[in-house]
């Protein structure tokens, strides 16, 4: 009984770590540019499909190392130019916020059905990143879960390091604090907006690569991810990386335990309840600043 709970706990921590990576990407774009990306879930699927094409269709050698080495630049470029093409032109308009949501929703429908046309409606699976398991005193942790956890956390730490220690990271923070001020001191605001969009695409796409091996890739599979990333972001607090991290683990565990006790159908209801409770009691989330 206790060991079963431990299994559920480990599964919750694993999912939680990937959710954290993806939620941080979502909060980054909203925090820096106030643009909400409804195609976020489709970008998740994009990561999964890129990995599937590379590994299963082309038969790329070198395992997941090569997949990440190729997928990250592809996702970065894709995100950067998506922002340039469809989000940036809207910024000048007065109702751009809702227009961005609409246009990205259209993009999501386009991409999801594009996957369906290209890859068919059947679910795709990927091989595990690592075989085998660690066993100690009856506790059993698969190497796959462990690797997913380590890679997600590494991704978040790398992101934090970039944000705090590099010139581009500082520029991102400056734009987030005051876009006009940043531009006055010579920071190319528009490029930063596009770059953050690219970085967030990388984060959610990498999440897609990581989760696709545990679950499956399907054309419409991204919508769950969009909702979950957003609930995590709202729960943790918009713009707070640490809040997002805590929230992701709490909700990852909630998902694992609700799924274990009541069935997977209830996960969405539980998340919705968390969302409403959060917004009713503490709209700024666990650690976020309101806005």
């Amino acid at each position: 009984m206790l060991l079963e709970y431990l299994d559920v706990f480990i599964s919750g921590m694993t999912i939680g770590s990937v959710y954290a990576l993806m939620a941080v990407g979502l909060t980054l774009v909203y925090g820096v540019s106030r643009a909400f990306n409804f195609a976020y879930g489709s970008f998740y699927s994009l990561g999964g499909y890129i990995a599937w094409v590379l590994m299963m269709l082309i038969g790329l050698r070198g395992g997941y190392f090569m997949v990440f080495a190729l997928a990250i630049p592809i996702l970065m470029v894709f995100g950067y130019f998506t922002e340039k093409a469809i989000v940036a032109p809207l910024r000048k308009r007065s109702d751009w916020e809702v227009k961005v949501m609409m246009i990205t929703l259209g993009l999501a429908l386009f991409m999801d059905n594009g996957y369906q046309v290209l890859f068919g409606p059947r679910m795709k699976s990927l091989p595990p990143i690592m075989d085998g398991a660690i066993e100690a005193g009856g506790i059993y942790i698969s190497n796959q879960d462990l690797m997913i956890f380590i890679l997600s956390i590494t991704g978040i730490l790398a992101f934090r390091w970039i944000l705090n220690n590099t010139r581009i990271g500082m520029a991102v923070r400056a734009v987030a604090q005051n876009p006009d001020g940043a531009q006055i001191v010579g920071i190319p605001k528009d490029k930063i907006f596009a770059a953050t969009f690219g970085i967030s695409t990388v984060m959610v796409g990498a999440g897609g690569v990581l989760l696709a091996q545990k679950y499956f890739i399907s054309p419409m599979g991204g919508w769950d991810i969009l909702v979950k990333s957003w609930v995590i972001t709202a729960f943790g607090g918009m713009g707070s990386i640490r809040g997002g991290l805590y929230a992701a683990f709490i909700l990852g565990l909630l998902e694992a335990f609700v799924g274990y006790w009541f069935g997977l159908n209830w996960v969405l209801f539980a998340l919705f309840a968390v969302l409403l409770t959060t917004l009713a009691i503490r709209p700024q989330g666990l650690m976020g600043k309101w806005g």
Partner: protein
């Protein structure tokens, strides 16, 4: 900003007037009549969306959800409780309106994208709910949906799919009534209050315009009307499933709004009619259809900032009246 009272009523009268004589030409072509009926139904739903989003400035993404709630509620009332479909529709509108208030309440404290996401979450959660055991317990029929919804019957006329001309005129009456209500709201103190709130919430509040009351009222009104029309739709087609909650329908509704122009009422009515027509022509493309709909949104949002109304205005120099400029100009200084 928007048209004046006269051109607005003229625009609506022309569109619905043309619609009203259509059965003379295509009354015996069954599928064309169906398309016309759907034009009217979606015109109402899209108009409601325009009212809450374009005028009240509330990013509600729950319009399809309220439509589905109304459709299911009306079907359940008439099947499980034996209520006359006409009253079931009114009740269903009330239920949808109640949900609108419930959803609106947390949204009052929220800003921008948050409102979109809470309302969209309602949309996302509705399908699993309708399919779940809870849904089945209240009569949604689970994954099967509801298959035998009794038709609306009034004055001895049965508004079934076999009698599309009757359904069409019933839908026309419904659409005209809803359009007049929406127009009255836009032109009333409400509409002015919304403009003020949208331009500067703080300034409007300092003048004593309560954002809370008006926002809640617009949530209630738009979801009531949308639910009512949802009920009408259910009694007309006779069956319901959760397929309506797919993203493609949501995006189709969005195309209506973008095509007509957000906040450019009554452009959205024209947008709805055109979109239903376009969508019908796309159905031959099968699985490419949703892709094209998605691409259409992207292109239209980029190229048509104010929809068709904006285009018309640019070409024909439609001028807004001086009186209206005074109203909107007065709240511009924040």
């Amino acid at each position: 900003m928007s048209m004046n009272w006269k051109s607005m009523s003229a625009f609506i009268a022309v569109i619905y007037g043309i619609m009203a004589i259509m059965p003379l030409f295509v009354g015996d072509v069954d599928h064309l009549m169906h398309i016309l009926i759907m034009c009217l139904i979606w015109a109402v739903v899209a108009s409601c969306w325009d009212l809450i989003m374009g005028f009240a400035g509330i990013f509600s993404f729950g319009q399809v959800a309220f439509f589905v709630i109304g459709a299911y509620a009306s079907a359940i009332f008439s099947i499980d409780f034996g209520i006359n479909p006409f009253f079931a529709m009114l009740l269903a509108g009330t239920v949808a309106g109640g949900f609108g208030v419930l959803v609106g309440l947390p949204c009052l404290r929220l800003k921008g994208a948050y409102v979109a996401l809470v309302t969209f979450a309602v949309h996302m959660i509705l399908e699993p709910f309708l399919k779940s055991g809870m849904g089945r317990a209240i009569g949604t029929g689970g994954s099967m949906g509801i298959l035998t919804i009794p038709p609306l019957e009034l004055f001895g006329i049965s508004f079934t799919a076999d009698n599309k001309i009757a359904v069409f005129y019933a839908a026309l009456v419904l659409a005209v009534v809803c359009s007049v209500i929406i127009m009255l709201v836009i032109r009333s103190f409400w509409g002015t209050a919304f403009l003020a709130l949208k331009d500067s919430e703080d300034f409007a509040a300092s003048l004593g315009v309560s954002g809370l009351r008006y926002k809640l009222a617009v949530f209630a009104l738009t979801s009531f009307l949308t639910g009512l029309v949802g009920g009408f739709y259910g009694h007309y087609v006779g069956m319901l499933s959760t397929r309506m909650l797919g993203i493609d329908l949501f995006v189709t509704l969005m195309i209506m709004l973008v095509l007509g122009g957000i906040g450019q009422y009554p452009g959205v009515i024209l947008g709805a009619i055109m979109t239903v027509g376009i969508n019908e022509n796309l159905s031959a493309l099968g699985s490419y259809r949703p892709m094209i709909l998605g691409a259409m949104v992207v292109v239209l949002v980029l190229l048509l900032p104010d929809g068709i109304i904006g285009l018309l205005r640019r070409f024909a120099f439609w001028k807004t009246s001086a009186g209206e400029k005074a109203v909107t100009g007065g709240v511009d200084n924040n």
